[in-house]
Symmetry: C2
Subunit: 318 residues, 2 copies
């Protein structure tokens, strides 16, 4: 398609061992990735903005129990939810972000409402929920976000800690974040990221997902990026913006820049890391250095594909 | 001095109109800048680390009523304090940050304790205060931070808003942040930033000061940077890390990179902006695009200088 619209997403990277869930669950998680892509693609195809597209894509993943954001989010050490999200408009570098929200059903919508408000860029905690309520967003009881799977995983982690048995948490238990990048028919770029943190996280801990430049970045003509992995390292490496800086200042390609980050810079800290990214032209890239990463894209020819591990599931026209 | 140790600080930029305070107050604020520099310089001169030096420098400014951080911090629209701080070690890119703390006397010490803990990088709200208390830091009643000057300024702002009179807040009322950069005898760089936000700020709003890459950044061999100005724009521009990226990837000098940010990139958003920065060699730079900026430095020859407006007050050997 000459318009060059494109869309990419990730649903978190990690070891994602096949045995951890049923084939039906793996299949459903791929279906939800495809639904998320179709929600965003529908907007792009009808001439909508990249900003609206990444928001719609992330909302579908927030509403799915398969991903660690919104419904089905991870739990803190106090068995509570603290959700973070951010969104950035590459056309004017406007951005919005929330951290430690507990009551807005879709944190990415709160981030978007903040972007639109043009007031604060980042709101934390109760104030962010109050803002979301005032903006007319759907509010829920914090118990809405809790799934049995996350409760079980938290109990297992805490039992291990009590018995003193050193059994490292799997990457899937530790992390998980969702994100999307899009390019619209006007060539504008946007990125969004949303997360529930990680299971058994210290209350009050904020990772890279709500941090513009670390977990999320978008600038027209350069790139749109959304990251997943241990947030502290992404913040220290200013990972999302470093992709842009390598392209803008060092003349690297999107592929070079993202692969350098994932396989060298971030990997040097011995962490699992992944990202989905999109340039001024061309198709999304989604490098990761773990066994798997929930990911998917619609290429400029309108073809949709999703994957959790090496195998790419091509689903035809979006 | 062949060791090349150097130290720089800022205490916020803005219009800083002379008539807003007495000559005695201006003089005392310069004395406090000099005290802050001497605290950091003492550490550097005795072979201490850049990280310890920036922390000690910021602590003195947090304890001074003249600057918007710690004691004398700005008040939110609810007449409460929400303090943010961050610190970064350029030798290993370790960092710590807190936002929305209300009870730790010196937020930069809480940020440093987090850096040392190696657990979370960024903690928010009550959890950050609880961490600080557990780390043995001095805790205070929130009223400790409140000065009559900030209460008066808040009342004035809120009265204006009620009467509907459009009288824009002065830059001094709106912003203010303190920060420091240092290079130690081993050539390591560090940066730290601390703020009380701005007067009449929406509760829950977090600016760039606790955001690594936006308000604070340090990397050995490249630069150390601490910023002051409207945080939302610094976040959108990933300002502190953009200085580093311009040096690393585009081959710019520290002077070029910081002047581009302050006079072009940030100024294009029509905001007051300033920063203090230090490179792998040479003396600190402290560009700002407002009428004044509280600032000071000790150059590699051990000479101390402070300033609030154009005039530089040279104070001799540090």
């Amino acid at each position: 398609m000459s318009s060059g619209i494109a869309l990419g997403l990730h649903g978190g990277c990690g070891t994602l061992e096949h045995r951890l869930q049923s084939q039906a669950d793996w299949s459903e998680s791929r279906d939800h990735l495809a639904q998320a892509l179709r929600a965003g693609w529908q907007i792009l195809r009808s001439g909508g903005s990249a900003l609206d597209a990444v928001q719609a894509t992330v909302v579908v993943m927030e509403d799915s129990p398969h991903f660690n954001a919104g419904y089905g989010a991870a739990l803190t050490a106090r068995a509570e939810h603290e959700l973070d999200a951010s969104i950035m408009d590459g056309s004017n570098l406007a951005a919005g972000a929330v951290c430690m929200v507990r009551r807005v059903r879709n944190p990415v919508q709160a981030a978007r409402a903040l972007l639109d408000s043009g007031t604060a860029l980042l709101l934390a905690g109760d104030a962010a929920d109050a803002f979301a309520a005032q903006a007319g967003l759907t509010m829920v009881d914090p118990s809405y976000f809790t799934t049995q799977r996350r409760l079980d995983a938290l109990r297992l982690l805490q039992q291990r800690a009590q018995t003193g048995a050193f059994v490292p948490a799997t990457e899937a238990e530790k992390h998980g974040t969702v994100g999307a990048v899009a390019r619209d028919a006007q060539g504008h770029l946007a990125a969004a990221t949303s997360t529930g943190g990680f299971n058994n996280t210290p209350p009050g801990r904020v990772g890279d997902s709500p941090i513009i430049g670390a977990g999320t970045y978008a600038r027209d003509g350069v790139c749109a990026v959304s990251c997943t992995g241990q947030g502290e390292i992404f913040i220290r490496r200013v990972a999302a913006y470093d992709v842009a800086a390598r392209i803008q200042y060092a003349g690297q390609s999107l592929e070079q820049a993202t692969r350098t980050l994932v396989f060298e810079t971030l990997a040097s800290h011995k962490i699992g890391a992944g990202m989905v990214a999109l340039g001024a032209t061309g198709n999304p890239v989604a490098p990761y250095n773990t066994l798997g990463m929930y990911r998917g894209w619609v290429t400029t020819d309108g073809q949709l594909a999703v994957a959790t591990h090496q195998e790419i599931h091509r689903m035809g026209a979006a």
